[in-house]
C-alpha cells in the first residue's frame, strides 16, 4: 500500500517536472512551477524557509521520502533500477556506508558553495542535473517531433504547434548532461541508489536527519526468518538482514522491503533510534569542457541561409535571398544576467544551473554559460533574439531565487546592461547606408540619431546611446544589420539597478 502511494506520487512529480522542462511553450509551468520550488537546493538558495522547514519536518517524520517522491533524479534511478531487476538472478547485497566519500563530497560541495564555484555546485545538485539532462538531451528530441507535428498541422491550416528552432545552446552543458545521464544510468542499473548515497549532497544532508526520523521500516527480529528477500531487492543496499539491521541514513523510504517480506517481519512504524552503517563503491563524474570560443567558431561553420547566386556579370536578376550570416555573441567583460537577477554576483551565487529558465525562454536569449567560472549556469546573449519587454517567464519559473519575480512593468525600470556603438562597423557611421534600426527598435528610447558632423546640416545620422536610459534588453544588438558581430553591443552591469537606487 505504502509502496503504491509512493510510486503514484513519485511518478506524478517526476512526469510533471520533466514535462515542464520539455514544454518550451511555457504553459505547464503555470501548473507545475511549484514543483521546482519545493526542490531542496533551490529552496535553500532562494532562502525559502517555509519549504526548507516543510522538507525537514517531512524527513524527520517519514524518512527520505523526498528522495523517493519529490526528487526527479531519484525517481528516474528507481525506473532504471526496476528495469535492471528484471534480469534474472540479479540481486542486491548489503554494503557498508562509504562515509569518507559521502562526507567528502558534501564537504567539497559546501566549500564550493561558499567559494562561489557555482558550476561545481550545479554539477552535483540532483534536481539541476535532471533539468540539464531534460533541457539538453530530451528537449531537442521533443522539439523535433513537435516540428514534424507543426508541419502536419499547418498543412491542415492549424497553428496549434509553434515551430521551435533547435540549436545547441552550450556544448559543455550538453557534455556534462550526457556524462551525468550515463553515470546515473550505469550506477542505478548496477546498484540502485548509489548516486544518492555517495555523491548527492542533498541525499547526504537528509541522511543526517533520517537517523532521527519518527516513522521508519522496522525489522521484527521475532518474525524475521533471515530469508534475505528484503536485502536482495533493496535499491539502497542498506538492509543488513544477517544482523537484522537497517542503515537508515541510506534508506530512501521506498517501502519496497515491507512488501517484499513474506513473513510480515518488516513494518513501517513509529520509532526512535537504531542505525547501522556501511560502505559503497563510488563513481565521480567529471565534466569535460571546451572553450566557448571553440564552440562559437564551430557554430559559424554550421551556418544556414540561402546563398546568393554569384553575380559575376552586370545582369540584374530578380528574386532569391541575400545570405544572412548568423550572429556571433560579442565578448562581454561583464556577463548579462536576466532581468530580476539583481546583479552578477547575486545571480551566480544562486543559480543551480537547472536550465528551467532556458527551457521556457521564448526568445532564445538564455543559455548555459561556457565560461569556466560559471559553467552551465545561465547567461544571456542576443544573437538569436532579445529580451522582449512583455516577457517575464524566467523570473516566474526560477526556483532558487536567482531570478526574482518581476512584472513587465517593472522590467523596463531595471537596468541590466548598457549598449555601446562600434563606429568602425556601424553602417550609418561607415556610410554604407542610412540605417537607424537600433534607434527605431529601442523600447525605452535610449538611442538617439545625431549628426555625424555637427557642422554639416546634411551630415549622415549616426546612433548614440543615452547610457542612463539604456536598460540592456538587446533589441538594438539583435536587430543591428551588421553581422556576424553587431555594431551595437550590450555589456552587463555588475549590479543591476533601477530608477529607485
Amino acid at each position: 500500500m505504502l509502496k503504491k502511494v509512493r510510486i503514484t506520487l513519485g511518478v506524478i512529480c517526476f512526469t510533471a517536472i520533466t514535462l515542464m522542462f520539455l514544454d518550451f511553450t511555457g504553459t505547464l509551468r503555470l501548473w507545475f512551477g511549484w514543483l521546482a520550488k519545493i526542490q531542496f537546493l533551490p529552496a535553500v538558495l532562494a532562502a525559502n524557509f517555509i519549504v526548507i522547514a516543510a522538507l525537514l519536518v517531512l524527513t524527520i517524520l517519514f524518512g527520505r521520502v523526498y528522495c523517493s517522491v519529490i526528487c526527479p533524479l531519484g525517481v528516474f534511478q528507481d525506473g532504471i533500477f526496476i528495469l535492471s531487476m528484471k534480469k534474472k538472478g540479479k540481486k542486491q547485497t548489503y554494503s557498508k556506508e562509504k562515509k569518507w566519500l559521502r562526507y567528502g563530497v558534501l564537504a567539497l560541495f559546501i566549500a564550493a558553495f561558499i567559494a562561489g564555484l557555482g558550476s561545481l555546485v550545479a554539477i552535483l545538485a540532483p534536481y539541476s542535473a535532471w533539468g540539464r539532462i531534460c533541457q539538453s538531451i530530451f528537449a531537442p528530441a521533443v522539439q523535433w517531433v513537435n516540428n514534424l507535428l507543426a508541419d502536419a498541422a499547418v498543412r491542415k491550416g492549424g497553428y496549434g504547434f509553434v515551430t521551435k528552432e533547435i540549436w545547441l545552446k552550450s556544448l559543455p552543458a550538453l557534455v556534462v548532461a550526457a556524462a551525468t545521464l550515463i553515470a546515473v544510468i550505469v550506477l542505478a542499473w548496477r546498484n540502485g541508489r548509489t548516486w544518492c548515497n555517495t555523491i548527492c549532497p542533498v541525499g547526504t544532508t537528509l541522511s543526517f536527519l533520517v537517523r532521527f526520523s519518527m516513522f521508519r521500516p522496522l525489522i521484527d527480529t521475532e518474525k524475521c526468518v533471515g530469508c534475505h528477500s528484503c536485502e536482495r531487492k533493496c535499491k539502497a543496499s542498506c538492509i543488513d538482514s544477517d544482523n537484522r539491521k537497517i542503515d537508515y541514513s541510506r534508506c530512501v523510504g521506498c517501502f519496497d522491503c515491507i512488501d517484499n517480506c513474506k513473513v510480515g517481519a518488516l513494518k513501517y512504524r513509529f520509532a526512535w533510534g537504531g542505525k547501522s552503517s556501511g560502505n559503497q563503491p563510488s563513481k565521480a563524474v567529471e565534466a569535460t569542457d571546451k572553450g566557448r570560443r571553440a564552440f562559437l567558431a564551430g557554430s559559424v561553420v554550421a551556418l544556414t541561409g540561402t546563398a546568393l547566386h554569384a553575380q559575376t556579370d552586370d545582369k540584374k536578376r530578380d528574386g532569391g535571398f541575400a545570405e544572412v550570416l548568423p550572429k556571433i555573441s560579442p565578448d562581454r567583460s561583464v556577463p548579462l544576467t536576466p532581468f530580476g537577477s539583481e546583479g552578477v554576483k547575486q545571480f551566480y551565487s544562486r543559480c543551480t544551473a537547472c536550465q528551467l529558465c532556458v527551457s521556457v525562454c521564448p526568445n532564445d536569449v538564455l543559455r548555459p554559460s561556457g565560461d569556466l567560472k560559471r559553467l552551465m549556469q545561465v547567461e544571456m546573449s542576443y544573437d538569436k533574439g532579445y529580451c522582449r519587454p512583455e516577457c517575464t517567464k524566467c523570473s516566474e519559473v526560477c526556483p532558487s531565487g536567482a531570478i526574482v519575480r518581476i512584472t513587465p512593468e517593472q522590467k523596463t525600470t531595471w537596468k541590466i546592461g548598457t549598449a555601446s556603438v562600434d563606429f568602425d562597423t556601424c553602417l550609418a557611421s561607415v556610410g554604407t547606408a542610412s540605417c537607424g534600426s537600433c534607434s527605431r527598435h529601442c523600447p525605452v528610447g535610449a538611442i538617439t540619431m545625431v549628426r555625424k558632423d555637427p557642422s554639416n546640416e546634411s551630415s549622415p545620422m549616426i546612433p548614440s546611446v543615452i547610457e542612463e536610459k539604456c536598460i540592456g534588453c538587446g533589441a538594438c544588438e539583435n536587430l543591428c544589420p551588421v553581422r556576424p558581430v553587431s555594431a551595437i553591443t550590450v555589456n552587463g552591469c555588475i549590479v543591476h539597478h533601477n530608477e529607485n537606487n
Binding site: A307, D314, D318, G319, G320
Partner: protein, 464 residues
Amino acid sequence: MEKNISRRDFMNMAGAGSAALGAAALAVSCAPKKSAEALVKEGLKKDDSVLETGKMEMRTAGNGEQVSLLGYGCMRFAMKKGEDGKDVIDQDNVNELIDYALAHGLNYYDTAPVYLQGLSEEAVGNALSRHPRKDYLIATKLSNFSNWSREASMRLYNESFEFLKTDYIDFYLLHSLGRGGLENFNGRFVENGMMDLVQKEREKGKIRQLGLSFHGNQDEFDQLLSLHDKYHWDFIQIQMNYWDWQHADGKRNVNAEYLYEQLDKHEIPIVVMEPLLGGRLASPAESVANRLKERDPQASMASWAFRFVGSYPRILTVLSGMTYMEHLQDNLKTFKDFQPLTDEERTYLSRDIADIMANFPTIDCTACKYCMPCPYGIDIPGIFSHYNKSINSGTFPQSKEQEEYSRLRRAYLVSYNRAIPTVRQADHCISCGECLSKCPQSIAIPSQLQRIDAYVEKLKQDKL
C-alpha cells in the same frame, strides 16, 4: 501610411460589406434560378469536358500572327533547391506544363533575362525547343536595368537567342518603361544605339514584333505613346485587371481604363500582365469571394478576372504565371470556348467589387520579386503576402475586443514565424531604400515594412 485605415473604418467597412452581401443575396434570389446542368446545356456554363473539346480563343497580332488569348507568363515556375543549395528550376515540371499548354493551343510564352533569378529563359528554351518552332511564339525582353551600356545590353540581347535556342524572337519588349520618363528611355535605348539596333533587327526578321512593357503614370505613358509615330510599337504590354481599371493611385500608376482607351485609339494590340494582380484577385477577401461565388458557384475567382480582361477586343493575349498544373487547367477552361463578360458584369467587377477591395488595407504587392534579393536579406514579398493573406482571409487581429482575438493573435504570430525566418522579418529592415526604385507597383516598401513591424510589435506586446 495612406493605406493604414483606422480600426473603426475597417470594422465599419466590414459591416457595410456584409450588409451589401445581404442585398446582393436578395437580388440573386429574385432572379430566375436555373440548374448548373441546364446552363451547361445552353452553353452558358462549362464543365470539365471543355478542356478536351473546347477551342482556344485566338487573337490576331499586327503581323497577322494568330496568338492564343491565354499567354504563359514564365516568371513564376516553382523553384527547388539544387545540389549546391542554390535555387534551380524544376525542368521536368516546366516541360510537363509547357507540353500540356502547347497541346491545348496555348502558343504565347513570355519570359525575360531577369526572371527567376535569371534562370527562366534557359528553362523555357529547353522546354520549347523540344517542339517545332512554328508551334510557339516567344516573347522576351531587354532588361538592361542596372547597366545601360551597349555592351551589357547586347549581351542580354544575344543571350536571349542562345538560351531560347532560336534565331528569331516573335515579340521583343523594351522591359519596364515609364518610370523615369523619356530620360530613362533615352538612356537605356537611344543613346547606346539599342533602339536603332532593334529596329534593324525587326527589318531583318530577327525580331518579328517590337513593343514595350509599361509601368508608370499618365504623363510617362503619353510620352511613350507619342513615340509611336517614330518607332511604331507593334504591341504594348500593360498591367490590366478589374482592380487597376479604375483604382490606380494616379500618382505613380495610371488607370488601365485610360491605357486601354489610348491604345485602342491608336490600334495598338495589347498584351496584359498582372491580370490577377499577382494572384491577389485569385484569392480575394472573403466578402468579395462570397459575392462572386453567389453569382456563379462553379466559377473560380481567377476566371472572373481573366474574363474581364479577355472581354476587351484589343487584347492580344493575357499573361498568367501558372506555377501548377491546376492553375493551367483552370485557365485553359476559361480561355477555351471563351465567354466574354457582359457590360454589366464588367462594371460590377471594376466598380462594385473593386470598391469593396479598396477598403481592405492590403499592400499592392504582386510578388514579382523585382525588389529581391534585398541586400539585408529581408523577404519582402513573403512578408507582404503573409500580411495580405491574413487580411483577406478575415483572420486579421485588429483589437482586443474582437471576437476570438487571442486565437487570431496566436495564429498571426505563429504563421508569421513559420512563413518568414526571424532574420528575414520586417524588424530587420534598415530602411536603406534600395528596393524603392525596383518596385513596378511603386510600393513604399520600407515604410510598409515598418508599418507591419510596428503592428507585429503591438501584437507581441498584446497592446493592440
